[in-house]
Symmetry: C2
Subunit: 157 residues, 2 copies
DNA sequence: ACAATGTTTCAATACTATTTGAAACATCGA
DNA sequence: TCGATGTTTCAAATAGTATTGAAACATTGT
């Protein structure tokens, strides 16, 4: 496998993976490109290498910065900005999960909170209460369940 | 909050959550509905309660069974099938992560495998090698990183 | 065999999300 | 201040996904 082939495949795969997990493909591809670059890239570099528009490149670079996955880099004597990815996989994982937690999990947890006090003791009411309770408060709350199970699966089989 | 309100909110929230994670909304909503039902539901029940078509309901019920999140239940004397969700949150988490691993992670890992032997020692080649290696083989492989970090985030702050 | 009941499929359609591209906006140096 | 260079925004176009609904298929009881 040649270098350019490897690059393309990695970008494609990371893009597809991101997309399956609800992260838009361009964002994941820009991230992939920066992850495997040995030096910071400019907006133009990103546009050219991925064949995407300026607007798209700009928007996703900003989003990646917002997620703390990419840093702005200024080269001395250069007017334009360059971008560099965080390459420590541990940090990458941490930043992604922190953002997703903030954006998606918290809304759900908040709702489960509100649902604490549902009236009634019909089988239906009981069932709703039990499920929301299990998801919300049970000792290893379901989010932990999820991730622990995931970790187990990944390291295991 | 009344029971029907709670039901609707839960279904909506679970649907939105699923959607953000790349699971189609209807599938997540059907799952939510079954999670909080105190008894198994028929295809018709699902169609009515969620206002979705027969085709959609059927397709997503099959998908949920395929993910081991829902079981087919036969009531004695009834011709049609009923459906019941797995309610143990631990199992739910395990089944979801197992499926997603199978479907999405393995393709990526396979590619990273292939990328083990990239030629060249230019800075570019080195950078690609390092990243794919880190993602693929480093002791707590990145998947574990991800999930461990996630678990930490969720139980923590 | 056939009517009744229930399930599955899939082409057409509706819907949602992403991407573009061009205009507006900033900043710098002369 | 003005031209050059670089960045941001956002409405419109496009691409991608999900949903419908009706027809085909399957199964059961008589």
């Amino acid at each position: 496998m040649t270098i350019p082939e490897a690059k393309d495949k990695f970008i494609e795969a990371w893009g597809a993976f991101g997309s399956a997990w609800g992260i838009n493909r361009s964002m994941a591809q820009v991230h992939a490109l920066l992850l495997i670059s040995h030096e910071p890239l400019s907006t133009e570099d990103v546009m050219e290498q991925l064949n995407i528009s300026r607007g798209n490149a700009n928007m996703n670079l900003r989003a990646l910065i917002d997620w703390s996955l990419v840093r702005r880099v200024l080269k001395p004597g250069e007017r334009r900005e360059f971008f560099e990815a965080e390459k420590d996989v541990w940090k990458v994982a941490t930043h992604i999960t922190r953002e997703r937690k903030k954006r998606e999990l918290e809304a759900l947890i908040r709702l489960l909170d509100e649902m604490e006090d549902i009236p009634g003791a019909t089988p239906e009411a009981k069932s709703i209460k039990k499920m929301t309770h299990d998801l919300h408060d049970s000792p290893p709350a379901w989010t932990t369940c999820w991730t622990t199970a995931h970790a187990a699966m990944c390291s295991g089989s």
